[in-house]
């Protein structure tokens, strides 16, 4: 369909340049229903697969009776461990060579409730659903470790790589005049993207095409290729739009293997989409965590020592480490520090990445604890943060590349009206509502990587950008159009950005808030090369109208080429290309070192092993933020409402403030959910998540969210990215939950150290 719309900004007001507030270029497709998400492709002969999952948390499958399902109308195949070909174990996301062992995505040994044990493929979705209910699985059940508080769970395994220590934290703590010590817990939380995980898999010979929502096409293609023992080039991932990921769509998962196996066995394309309940066990959410934070300080609230111990859950046979000391170790100037971490195996799916893994729960601990210290010594919670401000990275002992946190505190406090805060708990109220004001800071490292992009200037003067990176709502389509437009001197309207196809220029993972910095750099480099070639042709080609001018350079602006001083002709890019007999200029640019080998390039895009440390060289690179939050707590019922949020954030230079503000607000809203609503509840008899749906696992609704004000305090950071930006997507969730917990304490005098803060904890 043709979409006619008012243009939102043009080149004349700077909207289209990098840093301009251009509306989403993929917006028209999304608001008209024209945007086709991965599993919405229409394919001839499509068959439908539905998963059958374990109903016990530990034990073995004794038998699977598939007779009734196999005989049901329309059923093409019932897959179990016994009738599918084994795959090869794939390497992990670091590229670690895998054990030479078979991999089977349908389980026999059960280690968690909800594990895939069978799948039914049928001619229609309805037939597959009906037949899946006829699969009868019997088990030999053994006792399960249901969660961290299970008596069988134990203390877990020390993760030495997480240990961070300097000074003598224990001695300094013992000697400190003011000492606080508290334990902070966060529950299992779930990414819950609105688009469930799923895929369509199709084989043509030994070529596999997978239409699947993906935060990492090249990484997932690598896994599929290794599973099936086919060359990487034989696997094509297609993921044009992604209906939310939040960390959960970066890796190829068991259900994907099941669908691809079914497609190969049936020689038909197969669609498999998880049901919403299956999304709670088909992959991992955020691990449940426990932390103790002890702070020793002097009477003025100056920190002398922090001792931090953390625990997160992992699965019986998988390893997930949620780095709980990450924020703890860098937020405040600390002469003595000790952080250690264990992981504990429980009968759960292996946990995974969810928006700011590590920094988020870490901040709940330290940013609650510093608030407790503020009350202990009688200092304003904002003032104590400034007194302990880290002027350099206390752990890496390096200068910050940029740290606008002091500016964030100032701007947020000013806008929020923090100076009007009455310091005593329970001292502010509005009728029956106790009012509390809380503050907390957040941070997220700048994760950097090498990137690649293809930029083409076409015969009509339009520009095409291609990358196998993706847009799950962060605005990749838009900011890459802006980057190419600004670099080449064309209107953003003339740039078409194509993403989400692994046949395009390669891209690493879209995770850790790295994509924008990586890809704007790559597109800038490729577009610069294309521009150089264009201008070079215009100057030196004998057929060019500029040839006689003998200019050193030319200016390209708004799609037209002129000489810097204005003499000579003015021609469009299309006219110039026609005059020199070219139908296109094509430049593939990447930011890898020039002598990189093909193997290094493959490794760079299909693993995370070549990511650049955020403390590389002379600087420590982080984004920063400060949240100021007002809550209203009903004195009788203990219900908590967030009534006001002002957050000031330092993400460096913003490539598109309109879209960055949306991501920040989204992070804050997910943080409100984390603080007040979100908790995976385990049925202790069966080790099962009982609230595995969107009515019982509560995510924020529109009615839960007030207006939110975000303020950008960032400045361009040349050490963090080519164009000066730092991470945006994960930063804003970090610190929201402690800001709310701190506000709840101010309102009620009750310190809640277990998330979520639900009413029964307050009355």
């Amino acid at each position: 369909m043709t979409v006619h719309m008012k243009r939102h900004g043009d080149a004349s007001d700077g909207t289209e340049a990098v840093g301009g507030r251009l509306s989403r270029v993929d917006g028209p497709a999304k608001i008209t229903g024209a945007a086709k998400y991965a599993v919405e492709q229409r394919l001839d002969g499509l068959a439908y697969a539905v998963l059958v999952e374990s109903t016990i948390a530990a034990g073995k499958v004794r038998s699977i009776d598939t007779d009734a399902a196999q005989a049901a109308p329309g059923v093409l195949k019932v897959l179990t461990r016994d009738n599918i070909p084994p795959l090869k174990t794939a390497s992990d996301w670091l590229g670690t060579p895998p054990p030479d062992a078979p991999y089977c995505p349908l389980a026999h040994d059960i280690t968690f409730s909800g594990q895939h044990v069978a799948a039914v493929v049928a001619e229609t979705f309805e037939q597959a659903v009906a037949a899946a209910a006829l699969v009868k699985v019997s088990y030999d059940e053994t006792p399960a470790i249901v969660d961290l508080s299970d008596a069988k769970a134990g203390d877990g395994i020390p993760i030495d790589a997480m240990t961070k220590e300097w000074g003598d934290a224990a001695t300094a703590f013992a000697a400190a005049p003011v000492r606080i010590c508290a334990a902070y817990n966060t529950p299992r939380e779930y990414q819950a993207p609105m688009e469930p995980h799923g895929l369509i898999a199709r084989w043509e010979g030994d070529q596999l095409t997978v239409w699947e929502p993906s935060q990492w096409l090249d990484g997932m293609a690598r896994t599929y290729a290794e599973w099936f023992g086919v060359p990487f080039e034989n696997v094509r991932l297609v993921s044009p739009y992604i209906g939310g990921g939040f960390g959960s769509k970066a890796l190829a998962l068991g259900h994907g293997a099941v669908a691809a196996i079914a497609a190969r066995m049936l020689e038909r394309p197969v669609r498999l989409v998880m049901t919403r309940p299956q999304t709670f066990t088909g992959y991992g959410g955020r691990a449940a965590t426990r932390q103790t934070v002890t702070i020793g300080a002097d009477a003025d609230g100056i920190i002398q020592s922090i001792v931090h111990r953390g625990v997160n859950e992992t699965s019986i046979d998988g390893m997930w480490v949620e780095p709980l000391g990450s924020t703890t170790s860098i937020m405040y100037q600390t002469p003595n520090f000790s952080s250690r971490q264990n992981v504990v195996r429980v009968n759960s799916v292996v946990p995974g990445a969810m928006r700011a893994p590590g920094e988020n729960p870490s901040a709940f601990g330290i940013e609650s604890a510093i608030d407790e210290l503020a009350y202990e010594v009688g200092i304003d919670p904002l003032e104590i943060r400034l007194r302990n401000y880290a002027e350099q990275d206390p752990h890496a002992k390096k200068a910050w590349s940029t740290r606008q946190l002091r500016e964030a505190y100032a701007a947020g406090a000013e806008r929020f009206g923090w100076s009007k805060r009455s310091p005593e708990p329970r001292s502010m109220r509005d009728g029956n509502q106790l009012i509390g004001w809380g503050v907390a800071a957040g941070t997220y490292p700048v994760r950097r990587a090498y990137g690649e992009a293809m930029v083409r200037i076409l015969a009509d003067g339009s520009v095409e950008v291609e990358s196998s990176s993706i847009d799950m709502g962060q605005g990749t389509y838009t900011i890459l159009a802006q980057t190419a437009a600004e670099t080449l001197g064309v209107p953003a309207d003339n740039v078409v950005v194509k993403l989400g196809d692994s046949r395009f220029a390669r891209a690493g993972v879209t995770g850790g808030s790295r994509l924008a910095g990586v890809m704007t750099g790559a597109v800038h480099k490729a577009a610069s090369a294309a521009l150089d070639e264009l201008v070079g042709l215009a100057i030196s080609d004998q057929r060019s109208p500029f040839h006689a001018l003998q200019a050193n350079t030319l200016v390209v602006a708004n799609g037209r080429i002129t000489s810097p001083r204005g003499e000579g002709p003015e021609v469009s890019i299309a006219e110039l290309l026609a005059s020199v007999g070219r139908d296109r200029i094509e430049a593939k640019g990447d930011t890898m070192p020039a002598n990189s080998t093909a193997e290094e390039r493959y490794k760079n895009y299909t693993t995370i092993a070549m990511a650049l440390p955020h403390t590389e060289g002379d600087y420590s690179r982080y984004s920063w933020c400060a949240h100021f939050i007002e809550v209203r707590v009903d004195e009788d019922f203990g219900t908590v409402r967030v009534s006001r949020v002002v957050s000031a954030l330092d993400s460096g230079r913003l490539y598109n403030p309109k879209l960055a503000e949306s991501q920040w607000k989204g992070g804050i809203i997910m943080g409100i959910g984390q603080a007040l609503l979100e908790e995976g509840i385990v049925d202790r008899r069966h080790g099962r998540i009982v609230n595995n749906n969107l009515a019982d696992y509560l995510v924020p609704t529109n009615a839960d969210i007030p207006d939110i004000e975000v303020i950008s305090v960032g400045i361009p950071d040349p050490h963090s990215s080519a164009l000066g930006g730092k991470g945006v997507g994960e930063l804003a969730i970090v610190g929201v939950a402690p800001a709310i917990a701190n506000a709840v304490f101010h309102a009620t005098g009750k310190r809640i150290r277990d998330l979520p803060i639900t009413l029964e904890k307050l009355i």
């Binding site: 229903g33 229609t124 819950a192 609105m194 939310g244 939040f246 989409v273 949306s662």
Partner: protein
């Protein structure tokens, strides 16, 4: 269930008549997405909890995942694909969603927009709090809520004028 148990139905969708043969248990949502290739209506939970599948049936917002296709026979169904005018002119709510950046991933967006159109028509867009309440059945995990409220507020004014 064999193909003999398929039944012919006629659906009136976005002003066009569609004839199809489906099993009686096919939901309106799956009929739209899998049988008619109208994939703008999204499946987020398939159990009436998220609102991504919101469409209009005879002008009222309903959840297509909790509606059987046969129940929509003889009624006028409007989906996101039918909201803009025939010449492509966007509905005021669609334009406001784009201007206010009231979405990120876009997956809940068709449902949000269909709900918003009905919310305004129902007279429930009188204040920001009222919009929040009457848009609370449509979840958005990206957290576009403040911008959705702004878009509905803006569109309500435009529709009224």
């Amino acid at each position: 269930m064999t193909s003999k148990t398929r039944i012919p139905i006629q659906l009136q969708i976005n002003g066009h008549r569609h004839e199809l043969e489906v099993e009686p248990r096919v939901t309106l949502l799956d009929a739209l997405r899998d049988h008619l290739d109208l994939t703008g209506t999204k499946k987020g939970c398939d159990q009436g909890q998220c609102g991504a599948c919101t469409v209009h049936v005879d002008g009222e917002r309903v959840l297509a995942c909790l509606t059987l296709a046969v129940q929509a026979e003889g009624r006028a169904v409007t989906t996101i694909e039918g909201l803009a005018e025939a010449d492509g002119t966007l509905h005021a709510v669609q334009a406001a969603f784009l201007e206010q950046d009231a979405f990120q991933c876009g997956y809940c967006t068709p449902g949000q927009i269909m709900s918003a159109v009905a919310c305004i028509r129902e007279g429930h867009a009188g204040s920001d709090d009222e919009i929040r309440e009457y848009m609370a059945g449509n979840l958005c995990r990206c957290g576009a809520y403040p911008h959705i409220v702004a878009a509905v507020r803006q569109a309500a004014l435009e529709v009224a004028s």
